[in-house]
């Protein structure tokens, strides 16, 4: 007989329960919270964070970390805004350049980490400074995007029944999510990511292409964060060099709350999606509440993060006991 509740599924189950519980709790307390419009706004308002967190999930699954994602949001946003508005480039070309930047930065990270066995924390910290510096070098002031194609993108919606609508950002987010779920479950690359997280040395001895996989993982994270930056720029209709400051930490929080172990090997993209939703629900609930300051969001997330870490530690300990 197959069991639905297994030890491996415990984190994702816990995340689901917390997500559902918070949603119901907020829904019963605040008028209008249950509307489809609010639900789809979760997607639109957090699309950039979600896209970044998905890329970061792959990195964390290998046991690594990418601190440069927030800075990449700033760089890619200001780059697109600058090229489109000051240099009058075609927006599509500008976005392609931004995505290329993300890929190149990720390639550099991955190469240094895989070939020279440098610590991911430090390599991507250097990347963070590099991106932020480059972004400020392009423009210290924020740049308003007035290009008609870009404003069209910002207001693009697919209408849904019940007054809800799907924005371009949320469509992109969903697309990234689906591709990532497929890649993590159904491809050799995705499984190699998990195997590396389970033990790098073993992965090498099993004949997996560890360096190539690592490089690809960091490139993926770079491209995702660049895409997140583009979505952020569309969402805010501007580019800002200091945009996305601290966003790497929100993304890490979403990934960990989503049940992915920071030491790698265990976790899922779906979990990260739920993690992003949890952050979104907390944020929205505090907005609905009206009297609490927005800093309560941070306090709630911090508390939740702590609880999840303790829970994961408990699960790991329990697993060790049964195998010992």
């Amino acid at each position: 007989m197959k069991r639905l509740i297994t030890r491996e599924r415990l984190p994702i189950l816990a995340t689901s329960i917390v997500c559902l519980g918070l949603y119901l709790l907020s829904g019963f307390n605040f008028e209008g919270f249950f509307s489809l419009r609010v639900a789809f706004n979760f997607l639109t308002d957090n699309a950039f964070l979600g896209i970044i967190a998905v890329g970061l999930t792959f990195v964390i699954l290998t046991g690594g970390i990418d601190l440069s994602v927030g800075a990449m949001v700033g760089l890619s946003g200001i780059l697109v805004a600058f090229l489109v508005d000051s240099k009058h480039w075609n927006p599509i070309a500008a976005m392609a350049i931004a995505l290329g930047c993300g890929a190149v930065l990720g390639l550099m990270h991955g190469y240094l980490i895989a070939k020279f066995e440098l610590a991911p924390f430090l390599v991507t910290l250097a990347g963070l400074f590099l991106c932020r510096g480059l972004a400020l070098w392009i423009s210290k002031a924020s740049i308003q995007i007035k290009d008609p194609l870009m404003t069209d993108m910002a207001s693009f919606h697919v209408g849904l029944p019940g007054g809800a609508s799907l924005s371009l950002s949320s469509i992109l987010f969903i697309a990234v999510l689906l591709i990532a779920i497929y890649a993590s479950r159904q491809t050799t690359f995705g499984r190699a990511v998990f195997a590396i997280g389970g033990g790098k040395q073993s992965a090498v001895l099993m004949g997996l292409r560890v360096p190539q996989t690592l490089i690809l993982v960091y490139m993926l994270s770079g491209v995702c964060s660049a895409l997140g930056g583009i979505v952020f720029a569309i969402y805010t209709s501007s580019g800002n060099a200091i945009g996305g400051t601290g966003m790497e930490l929100d993304a890490i929080a979403a990934v960990v709350v989503g049940g992915t172990l920071l030491s790698g090997g265990y976790g899922s993209i779906l979990g990260t999606f739920l993690g992003v939703l949890i952050l979104a629900i907390i944020q929205t609930a505090i907005t609905f509440q009206g009297t609490l300051s927005s800093w309560w969001t941070k306090i709630a997330i911090g508390t939740l993060l702590l609880i999840f870490m303790l829970m994961q530690r408990g699960i790991v300990k329990a697993t060790e006991r049964t195998t010992a």
Partner: protein, 484 residues
Amino acid sequence: MVALDQVDFTVQPGEVHALMGENGAGKSTLIKVMTGVYPADKGSIRLAGQEICPTSPSDATRLGISTVYQEVNLAPNLSVAENICLGREPKGWSGIRWREVRKRADQALARLSVSIDTGRALGSYSVAIQQMAAIARALDVQAKVLVLDEPTSSLDAAEVQQLFEAINRLKAEGMGIVFVTHFLDQVYAISDWMTILRNGRKVAEGATKDITRTDLVKHMIGREMSSDEAHPKAPESSALQSPPLLTAQSLNRKGAITNLDVSIGAGEVLGLAGLLGSGRSESVRLFFGCDRLDSGKLEVDGKGVHGWSSSDAIRAGFGYCPEDRKTSGIVPELSVRENIVLVLQSRRGWLRSIPRKRQADLAQRMVAQLNIATTDIEKPVQFLSGGNQQKALLARWLLTEPRLLLLDEPTRGIDVGAKQEIMNLVEDLRGKGMSFVFVSSELAEVVRTCRKVAVLRDRRMVETLTGSEITEERIMATIAEVSH
């Protein structure tokens, strides 16, 4: 140094070939050459008549030589099925076909007659099952040769039996199996043929049924009989009448040693003899309080002790020179002087530092006494030869004037002259009433140094020999005896 010297090694299809030898005999090197970890300087590898040249373990696997290591090298976080197929999963239009992965895993495990839920994480199973999964993974690539490198070290008896059944099934299918182990019983239980290595050379090869246990042990550890075989035995120490310094009564520690029953009196040298992995070092660690006892009684000066720890041992006047002086003894960057005064200083507490002048005097005295060859006591100890490093380590403990010194392989990897000096030193100090536990893979050294020898086999103490019973022949025979 040549790790392997002109060794020929042939595995027939459908044969279990045991590769035997003590530490440093060249077993691991031979396996690493076969599996592409190291290149051979000279010579060739042929698989089914075809010359091959594996460049990495994964390359060797592709060619048909798979290795299963003592430590399972799989991903504990993934399912058993996935571990078996990882990297070569069957794929369809929608990516990996998980149903087929499960089917293939079940098939590979069925060949080993293992039936488990392959959907569960590998890490949730016992080491034995994990090892089976590793073997199943090797089967899934159609290995022609399977190398099992000490696969039984962490298995219990029933699990070993299960592994052997699997090996026999594979043998019947015509696979060539290389089996490395330290357990003599297992070699005779499973292997058809054996190759014995010693110091990088092949010393013997033949059908397992034609090689007696005594011959096997002799080939592994016995030396060619030499002139210093018959040496004068010092008379039995008169100090034996005083209460023993240390008494061990049926000490047990799971996975380390069972049934250890010895006593050491003042002015006595207790030898621990046995093959590598027989529990020698583990016993010494118990004496020094490095590991906890599962059961048994330890008495020091006739009084039972509980929760014996290393600091208790040091307080009782014990000293311990561990097996691997590079990693757990010498501090390579510190000077000869600093290394020598280390324990004495830590005993006084770091607040009451020994004056520099006194340190130098003490170090100088030990250097002279033990004849440590160094130009200067301020020289970092890493620049000394192995033998002199070992002597510096001895000096460190001798300064504390220990009552009992535990020496685990004090003569390994040092030159003949230094070996002699260390053994002479032990003899001298013994005469002055100091006690020793002496562990050595060189039987001749044990015979020469000790007046009491505990013989260990497969992590169990089997006999204590004293006085004239202590001969190389007798020790080897005891090690080789069939255990019941």
